[in-house]
C-alpha cells in the first residue's frame, strides 16, 4: 500500500489529502481522504496519474522597456511537456508593447494550450538604436 500526502492547490482551503493505492495508481485504485469537496479527489487522482503543471517563464521582447516579458500557460499542461514547452518559447520574440493576457504562442508543445503574457512591457521610446539585451 503506497501512501502519499498531498496539499490540494485548487482553492484557499489547501486541504491536506491522504492518498493511498496498492500497485500502480489508477483512477480505480486510488483512495483519497481529507478533502472537503469532490474536486480534491479529482486533483489527487490527476496528480498521481497524469500530473499537470502551469509553466511560468519568460520570453524575449524586442524594442521594450525590459528585455523580457513573463508568460504562463493559460492552464496547466502535462508535466512531461514542460521542458519542451519552455524550449519552444525560447525561440519566440515579441515586439513591444505587449499587454497582460496577450497570446504569444498556441498549442504549445502540442498540448493545445495557449501561452499568454503576464507582465506588460511598454515600448522603449528613446534611442531605438541601442542593442537588444
Amino acid at each position: 500500500m503506497t501512501r502519499k500526502k498531498l496539499t490540494c492547490i485548487l482553492c484557499p482551503n489547501g486541504c491536506e489529502l491522504e492518498v493511498s493505492h496498492s500497485g500502480e495508481p489508477t483512477p480505480e485504485t486510488i483512495v483519497v481522504e481529507g478533502h472537503t469537496c469532490p474536486r480534491g479527489i479529482d486533483y489527487a487522482i490527476e496528480e498521481l496519474t497524469a500530473p499537470k503543471r502551469t509553466l511560468t517563464t519568460s520570453i524575449l521582447v524586442s524594442g521594450g522597456t525590459q528585455p523580457q516579458a513573463s508568460v504562463k500557460t493559460a492552464c496547466p499542461i502535462p508535466r512531461e511537456a514542460l521542458f519542451a514547452a519552455r524550449g519552444e518559447l525560447r525561440r519566440v520574440v515579441v515586439d513591444a508593447p505587449v499587454a497582460i493576457g496577450e497570446v504569444v504562442a498556441t498549442d504549445i508543445a502540442g498540448t493545445g494550450v495557449d501561452v499568454v503574457v503576464t507582465r506588460a512591457v511598454g515600448r522603449r521610446l528613446n534611442d531605438t538604436s541601442r542593442p537588444e539585451r
Partner: protein
C-alpha cells in the same frame, strides 16, 4: 514628474502589494494620496515573481505576481492616487516630512499620514557568517530572481540553494527550467520552511535532493565559486563532526530569511519590535510616531501577498481616517498590549485600542505542529480560540477577537493551549 515642497493627506512609501492597496484604500476613503516607489514600474517585488499562486484569497483566481500587482495598480489609479515612480524616499522625519529624490528632482513632501510599505530585504551571506573565501557566484535568491526574470541573465550553471523557503524553492524550479542543474537544496531545520506544494512542484518534480538538518559550512573557490561544504547539524545548531561532504557547484543561492527594511522608520523614531524586526503598531497599524502607519512586509514578513495587500487596505483606511479626522492618540492608557505567549513566535499588532469591537491579530507559531488550539487570553479568559489542524511557522495565522462591548482589558496574550 517633479515633486515640489507640498502637502498631501496620505503619503505611501512603497508601491508593492501593501502600498498599492493602502494607497487605493486611502484614496477611496476620500484622502489625497501620493504613492512613492523607487522602481520604474509599480508592483514592488511582485514584478519579478513570475510564478503563480497569488490571488487565491484576494480574487479567487490563481495569478502570477505581475498579474496580481496589475490588479492593485489599476485599483490605485482608478482611485485617483498620484503616483511617483523612480522616486526614493531618502529621509522621513517624525513630523511626517519626506525627502524624495528622483532623476532631476529632490524635494520635500509633508503628509498628515504616512504609510510605511517599503517591504523587506534578504538575509545575506555576511549576516550568516558563512566561512570561506568570497568568490563570485554567491547570490541571495531574490537577487538571482531579479537578474533572471528582469535582466535576462543566467546566474550560473550548477546551483546549490541554501534554505528551503519559498523563494529558494521557486528559484530551484525556475533555474531547472532554464537549463541549470540544481544540485541540492540544503535546509538547516529538520523540516522545510516553504509551502508543501512548492516542495512538490519545485523539488520532487525534478528529483532535486533536499538535505534537511544540514547547512553550508564552507564556501569554496577563490575567484568563482567551485563548491560548497555541507554538514549535518545537531539540535544545538552546530555541525556534527564527520558528516561534511562537498557539493561541486558554481552558484550558491541563499534563501535564508527576509528582514523588514526599516532603516527609514528607525531614523524617524519609529520603535521596532525585535521579534518581527518591524514596527510596534496598534490595531489601526499606527506606530508610536503619530500619523505614521506600517503594513506589509516592512511590518512583518508575509507568506502570501494577498495578506500583505489586505493589511495594506486596513492601514490605508486608518491613515485616511487620521488625515481627515484625526485618530485618537491618547497614549498607553488607551491601548491594550498584545503579546506572544507559549508556542507563538510573534503577534501583530502588538497593541489594540480599548473600546475596539473587533481586533484582527496576525501571528505565527514557533514550530510545526498539528491539532493545536490557539487562543487569545485576557486575564486568563479566552476571548477567541481556533483549532489549527496543522500549524507551521511558514504560514501566518489570523484570528479576530470580537468584543461586543468594546475591548476593556489591559493585556491580551496569544498562545497555544
Amino acid at each position: 514628474m517633479t515633486l515640489r515642497a507640498r502637502e498631501t493627506d496620505v503619503a505611501v512609501i512603497g508601491g508593492g502589494p501593501a502600498g498599492l492597496a493602502a494607497a487605493a484604500a486611502a484614496a477611496d476613503a476620500g484622502a489625497r494620496v501620493v504613492l512613492i516607489d523607487r522602481n520604474p514600474h509599480l508592483g514592488g517585488i511582485l514584478n519579478q515573481c513570475i510564478h503563480d499562486g497569488f490571488g487565491l484569497h484576494a480574487f479567487g483566481e490563481v495569478l502570477t505576481g505581475p498579474e496580481f500587482a496589475a490588479r492593485y495598480v489599476d485599483r490605485a489609479r482608478e482611485a485617483g492616487v498620484e503616483v511617483h515612480s523612480d522616486t526614493l524616499v531618502a529621509e522621513l522625519t517624525p513630523e511626517r516630512e519626506l525627502v524624495c529624490t528622483s532623476p532631476g528632482s529632490r524635494s520635500r513632501l509633508r503628509a498628515s499620514s504616512v504609510v510605511l510599505a517599503m517591504g523587506c530585504r534578504e538575509r545575506t551571506r555576511g549576516m550568516l557568517r558563512i566561512p570561506g573565501p568570497r568568490p563570485a557566484g554567491v547570490y541571495t535568491a531574490g537577487t538571482a530572481q531579479w537578474l533572471t526574470n528582469m535582466e535576462n541573465i543566467r546566474v550560473g550553471r550548477r546551483v546549490v540553494i541554501l534554505g528551503s523557503g519559498d523563494i529558494g524553492l521557486i528559484m530551484a524550479r525556475r533555474l531547472t527550467w532554464e537549463g541549470a542543474e540544481v544540485a541540492a537544496v540544503v535546509e538547516l531545520l529538520p523540516y522545510p520552511s516553504g509551502l508543501p506544494r512548492n516542495i512538490t512542484q519545485c523539488l520532487e518534480d525534478y528529483g532535486i535532493p533536499l538535505h534537511l538538518g544540514h547547512s553550508v559550512t564552507c564556501i569554496r573557490g577563490r575567484d568563482r565559486l567551485d563548491g560548497v561544504t555541507v554538514s549535518r547539524f545537531g539540535e544545538d545548531r552546530r555541525p556534527i563532526p564527520g558528516t561534511a561532504f562537498d557539493i561541486p557547484c558554481d552558484t550558491l543561492l541563499l534563501s535564508v530569511g527576509l528582514i523588514p527594511e526599516n532603516e527609514l522608520s528607525r531614523r524617524a523614531g519609529v520603535q521596532l519590535d525585535t521579534s518581527t524586526s518591524g514596527a510596534f503598531v496598534d490595531d489601526r497599524y499606527m506606530t508610536n510616531v503619530p500619523g505614521v502607519f506600517s503594513c506589509g512586509n516592512v511590518l512583518h514578513i508575509h507568506d502570501l501577498a494577498d495578506w500583505a495587500a489586505e493589511e495594506g487596505e486596513r492601514a490605508g483606511r486608518a491613515a485616511a481616517s487620521h488625515a481627515l479626522e484625526g485618530l485618537a492618540t491618547g497614549g498607553r492608557s488607551t491601548l491594550a498590549t498584545i503579546t506572544a505567549g507559549e508556542g507563538i513566535r510573534y503577534v501583530v499588532p502588538q497593541a489594540a485600542s480599548k473600546g475596539a469591537k473587533e481586533v484582527l491579530i496576525s501571528f505565527r507559531v514557533g514550530a510545526p505542529d498539528q491539532d493545536r488550539t490557539a487562543e487569545v487570553l485576557a486575564d486568563g479568559r479566552a476571548l477567541a480560540s481556533e483549532t489549527l489542524r496543522r500549524a507551521h511557522p511558514a504560514e501566518m495565522v489570523q484570528m479576530t477577537v470580537r468584543c461586543a462591548d468594546g475591548l476593556n482589558v489591559d493585556r491580551l496574550e496569544v498562545r497555544l493551549q
